[in-house]
């Protein structure tokens, strides 16, 4: 049982999607039940995972499964080989946990979907499997496959079940991400032809194994990405370009300024559960890629370009916050706040200090929970009035007190109030980013100082929204009828409560999660810095 845990996690929803094909379209309740069953199974599997890995160090890969997927002998071109290789370390664990949690919430939130229920849920389940797969895949080809597999369900979920401008938004999303995918694909191929499998030394076998890719000794001498004698393309080495490509590829997904404009549109148009998944999980894939691929595989370039990564991060923080301040649509504001918060991930990552990287991963997890709440909030309002324009409301707190409380908690959690997980994440990122200059000299102290502007602006846009929408005398635009404003029902309450409790839990007792993240962060920092140093002073 234990050796197939991860596979089971990935393929439970996929199997359900197959099963769903045989359920008639009219039976909406069976789809709704099935999605709960899947979440229950996944949570149970996750509990097994936790039980299985108790006491083991999460700096190493645990629960790995490895099967040769295909192997093609191409004669003098070597052997074309890919593996089904999955495994889990601290980073994967936290991301998979987040996926399972958010997916169950999104499942409950999807109950309001009424149009073409069958297609919707089947796409949702495929998406679920693909996201889990992305977070545990250790073979680059497999990773890429899962990565691409997320796009299509997402495209249709936005394009069919979205709002008024859904076609524009979904095609923008698809094209943006495909551009990133292509950049990654180029690097994937370049890496593949530069790599030999050390497990089979007597034969030239190329490999997609990500763990092998982090070892400098596995490069074929004279190959394009060999760090010892790098090829020069234009003004820079091939490795430099490869890192840049991967960086842009994942920065689009993250999203970092200036590759972010797909996000507000996609969010505004997507239905609530899809917004939740998009913000809470899909954005994390970008950061995950940077943590898993860009930095460990190209540590030499990554450390020299860290200032650039940090710069993009800081620009995202400030620029996203400014745009959020300018937004008139509640969901757009939240989307831009995501850009701002994901900037902290880049900043923490670029610092390559233990606390910075821990903070970055913590921020991934924390933002996953908090952004899910934020988009659910926007969804609650939209479900009732079909209008999210901030200035169309005032004094909502008197009509919907429970909703007001939830919004208050969520907004303050998002602006980094202590006691919520965002505070721990952001403070560690800032500490790490500031210390980076004296610890490893990668990024300048001023980056961290400028990033704190994001905290002030974050408070500004959330408080301003609160003041405009919830405080003051009750008022609403005339087209909306006041009796549409019903307070949260039980189903909605059951989505918010666990998320709020989790945000609080991880904000007050961060050690629970840090036990998983920290070993990874420490291992990551050490290996990146060491490899970079060994490559720079041969």
């Amino acid at each position: 049982m234990s050796q197939y845990l991860l596979t089971a996690l990935i393929f439970t929803p996929v199997a359900a999607a197959l099963l769903g094909l045989f359920i008639p379209d009219t039976s909406k309740s069976s789809f709704r039940t099935l999605t709960l069953v899947i979440s229950a199974i996944q949570i149970a599997l996750l509990v097994f995972v936790i039980a299985q890995t108790r006491g083991s160090s999460f700096s190493a890969i645990l629960l790995s499964e490895k099967v040769t997927w295909f192997s093609l002998d191409l004669g003098e071109w070597g052997v074309l080989q890919a593996e089904y290789f999955v495994g889990m370390d601290g980073l994967s664990f936290s991301m998979v946990t987040l996926t399972v949690l958010v997916m169950s919430i999104a499942g409950i939130s999807s109950w309001t979907i009424d149009k073409n229920v069958k297609g919707y849920f089947i796409l949702l389940w495929i998406l679920n499997g693909a996201i889990v797969g992305t977070f545990v895949a250790l073979d680059f080809l497999l990773f890429y496959l899962f990565f691409e597999f997320m796009l299509l369900p997402m495209y249709f979920l936005i394009g069919i079940w979205g709002g008024a401008k859904r076609e524009y938004a979904s095609i923008k999303f698809l094209l943006y991400t495909l551009l990133g995918s292509i950049l990654i694909l180029i690097v994937l191929i370049a890496l593949y032809i530069s790599m030999r499998n050390p497990e089979m030394p007597d034969q030239l076998v190329h490999t997609f194994n990500m763990l092998h890719m982090t070892d400098v000794l596995n490069y074929i001498p004279g190959s394009i990405l060999n760090p010892a004698q790098p090829w020069i393309i234009g003004p820079q080495t091939a490795r430099w370009w490869a890192f840049l490509f991967v960086l842009i590829g994942f920065a689009i997904k993250l999203p970092a300024v200036p590759f972010h404009t797909w996000l507000p549109d996609a969010h505004v148009e997507a239905p609530t559960p899809i917004s939740v998944i998009l913000a809470a999980l899909l954005l994390k894939v970008g950061a995950y890629g940077l943590l898993r691929i860009a930095y460990p595989i190209f540590p030499d370039v990554a450390t020299t370009l860290s200032w650039f990564v940090a710069l993009i991060g800081v620009i995202s923080i400030v620029y996203g916050a400014l745009n959020a301040l300018a937004s008139k649509d509640l969901k757009r504001l939240i989307a831009y706040s995501s850009v701002s918060h994901m900037g902290f991930v880049m900043l923490g990552l670029a610092s390559v200090t233990t606390e910075g990287v821990s903070g970055a991963v913590y921020q991934l997890f924390s933002h996953g929970i908090i952004s899910a709440m934020l988009f659910l909030i926007a969804g609650v309002l939209y479900d009732r009035t079909l209008d999210r324009t901030i200035i169309n409301y005032s004094g909502l707190s008197s009509k919907m007190p429970v909703y007001f409380t939830v919004v208050l908690i969520t907004f303050f959690a998002s602006l980094g109030l202590p006691g919520f997980s965002g505070f721990i994440a952001e403070i560690m990122v800032l500490l790490g980013a500031f210390r980076s200059f004296s610890a490893n000299g990668l990024i300048h102290e001023s980056f961290a100082i400028v990033a704190t502007l994001g905290l002030i602006l974050g408070a500004a846009y959330y408080l301003w929204t609160l003041q405009r929408m919830f405080f003051g005398p009750f008022y609403m635009k005339s087209e909306i009828k006041p009796d549409q404003l019903i307070d949260l029902d039980k189903r909605e309450y059951s989505m918010f409560l666990p998320l709020i409790l989790l945000a609080l839990l991880f904000g007050i007792f961060p050690q629970i999660l840090l036990d998983y993240i920290n070993p990874f962060a420490q291992h990551f920092t050490e290996s990146v810095l060491q490899t970079a140093r060994s490559l720079q002073t041969p």
């Binding site: 972010h260 620029y319 937004s327 233990t354 003041q467 003051g472």
Partner: protein
């Protein structure tokens, strides 16, 4: 020294009782909201009694630490240690006591209000976070609680959700605090980068003075500027008076705003001399500006707010001149008399409101020009108010006199014998003493003595509101603090040992106070209500307009720029690329239809023509076949033969 076991339970009770009150308020259903008021007050009573027990079971200068591990990141540990020492024990007693009294007062003041559960919950939560702030031995934990008190302050200022002014004030308070907090945070980052610890025990005993300490301490001081409403961020505090008055008493006079001074006293040893000079100057500038503003207010709460800012500035100056003890001493006395003043003012406003609703009259119940002669209607409140005001003005025999005296003495000692800019601070301190007397006298006179046209039947507030008042008024006298009315000795003064004292300063300040009183008498009692004010001073030196001009407007502009960049430039480039691509696609499509397909069509046409041409030979006409055959033969023969 580090034996902590006996205090674990007490500390637990003190800290957790307010938290329990906070949680309980959420559990109790709306129907039983009257239960909330009682339960919350009882919880606070438990907390207060525990701190009293702790106060008497710990002797001064004892220090204990309760080790708590919070979390670890890599090799670094962040602890949540609790430190029990002079400062924290005294502050705990102060906070729990005033919080309890405010709870008691609120039962009467807030009776019949709608959001009563939220109100008491946030009071409990505030007390909890304030206690956490006081006890923490870790800068990060302090920062944690520091922000939480800001949050509770936000919700309590905005307690009346429907009031737009309250919402604005709450937002302003939180944002101004946030700006200061970000400074604090940068200070934390500097400390972290250099020492990798936030443990105050380690930080305060650094072996030598490092150059980064100036930057770090100035940044931490930014946090103080925000929280304790110092220049240039003080304007939020006067707006914060939009909240219920007990909140103003607890948070915006006695405890939270004093947290900045407390923090300064706590991390005083980290500060370098340069940083301390800045602290002193900022404190004195604040004290003077706010004092002048207080002189020009008509709203009773605003007078008290500016007076609070001014007194806080004085405390900050005291820390700046190196006497954090004097600052703490004044903090304690100030908390007592200022809470009393606020609560008494609340009682006055409450009584006027009651009378207004009976007589169906409507005027601004907070404007001191509308009051007058209330000493007959509200005898208890009058006595209490005057006692606390005397303490504020620093009249001898009151607690405020003692603490202000030690403050001025500290500045006196610091300024030295040689003339330097330090003397400016000293002169300002004396000037401030005079200003304080003036605005206090003006306030008291307007409310209780001067004549008024309205003949409302104002009656005393309920007894549950008067009990805390009386208690606090008694605490404002010297006896509560010290045995000797002119020199801080014994009682609470014991807990803050080594207070500076100089007889010369005592004499000078008594002289100044008497002169000021005489001047105030001549000015305000004669001119009565025609006393004019200057708008510039009344609005806190127009700092708000300045902020609007140099911060708010540029930021709004910047957001517009960012929005345009996003929409026009980034998306524009994107759309341009898309259009270019589509245009190229159209060109290629044209090429496809007209050139490539055209060629194909031409070929087809040619073949067709050839076909129909050849077909024309085979019309089924035998004679034609023969003709062609013969012709062919002839041609063949022709070529063959020639």
């Amino acid at each position: 020294m580090d034996s902590s076991a006996p205090f674990d339970l007490l500390i637990g009770l003190i800290v957790l009782a307010p938290l329990a009150s906070f949680l309980l308020c959420h559990v109790i259903p709306d129907r039983y909201s009257w239960l909330v008021t009682i339960a919350a007050t009882v919880f606070l009573l438990v907390s207060t009694i525990s701190s009293l027990v702790l106060f008497f079971s710990v002797s001064p200068n004892e220090s204990h630490i309760i080790q708590l591990e919070w979390f670890r990141v890599g090799p670094y540990s962040f602890n949540g240690n609790l430190e029990i020492n002079n400062l924290s024990v005294l502050m705990m007693l102060l906070v729990t006591m005033i919080s309890f009294l405010v709870h008691l007062y609120s039962i009467g003041y807030m009776a019949g209000e709608a959001g009563i559960r939220r109100y008491f919950a946030m009071l409990g939560f505030f007390t909890f976070s304030m206690l956490g702030l006081i006890l923490s031995d870790n800068l990060l934990a302090i920062f944690f609680c520091w922000e939480l008190v800001g949050f509770s302050s936000y919700l309590l200022i905005g307690h009346w959700l429907e009031k737009p002014a309250a919402a604005k004030a709450a937002q302003k308070a939180f944002l101004f605090n946030r700006i200061g907090d970000v400074g604090f945070l940068i200070g934390l980052m500097i400390v972290w980068a250099n020492t990798q610890t936030f443990n105050l025990r380690e930080l305060l005993h650094l072996q030598e003075v490092y150059s980064w300490q100036t930057a770090a301490s100035l940044c931490i001081f930014c946090g103080v500027i925000g929280k304790s409403a110092q220049f240039p961020l003080y304007t939020w505090l006067s707006d914060a008076m939009e909240g219920p008055i007990p909140v103003s008493a607890l948070i915006h006079a006695a405890t939270m705003v004093a947290a900045g001074v407390f923090l300064l006293a706590r991390v005083f040893q980290l500060f370098t001399p340069t940083a301390l000079d800045v602290v002193a100057v900022v404190g004195m500038v604040t004290a003077l500006l706010a004092g002048i503003s207080a002189l020009n207010q008509f709203d009773i709460k605003k007078i008290l707010a500016y007076s609070t800012i001014s007194q806080l500035g004085l405390m900050v100056t005291a820390v700046g001149v190196g006497s954090e003890k004097a600052a703490m001493f004044h903090l304690v006395t100030h908390a007592l008399f200022k809470a009393c003043l606020f609560l008494a003012a609340g009682a006055v406003i409450h009584s006027i409101h009651q009378a207004q609703s009976l007589d169906h009259e409507n005027f601004d119940a907070q404007d001191i020009r509308n009051m007058g002669g209330l000493r007959k209607n509200l005898p208890t409140t009058f006595l209490v108010f005057v006692a606390a005001a005397a303490s504020l003005a620093g009249i001898p025999l009151f607690a405020g006199f003692l603490s202000k005296d030690s403050l001025i003495t500290a500045i006196w000692i610091w300024s030295g014998n040689l003339f330097s800019w330090h003397w400016m601070i000293l002169i300002s301190a004396f000037a401030l003493t005079s200003i304080t007397v003036l605005y206090t006298f003006r306030m008291v006179w307007f409310i209780f003595f001067s004549k008024t046209e309205s003949n409302l039947s104002v009656t005393e507030s309920p007894w549950i509101m008067r009990i805390p008042l009386v208690f606090l008024a008694i605490a404002s006298s010297w006896l509560f603090i010290s045995i000797n009315p002119f020199k801080p000795t014994g009682w609470i003064a014991l807990w803050i040992n080594e207070l500076p004292h100089s007889n010369l300063v005592t004499i000078i300040s008594i002289a100044i106070i008497i002169l000021s009183l005489l001047f105030a008498w001549s000015r305000y009692s004669v001119k009565n209500k025609s006393a004019t004010t200057i708008l510039f001073f009344q609005q806190g030196f127009q700092l708000d307009s300045l902020y609007k001009l140099i911060i708010e407007k540029p930021i709004i502009k910047l957001t517009a720029v960012a929005e345009t960049t996003d929409r026009k430039w980034i998306d524009g480039v994107l759309h341009l690329t898309a259009y270019t691509q589509v245009s190229i696609a159209h060109i290629i499509a044209w090429f496809d239809t007209y050139i490539v397909d055209g060629l194909v069509h031409v070929t087809v046409w040619l073949t067709q023509q050839t076909g129909s041409f050849t077909r024309s030979f085979q019309g089924g006409k035998i004679q034609l076949y023969i003709f062609w055959a013969v012709l062919g033969l002839i041609i063949f023969l022709f070529f063959l033969l020639i």
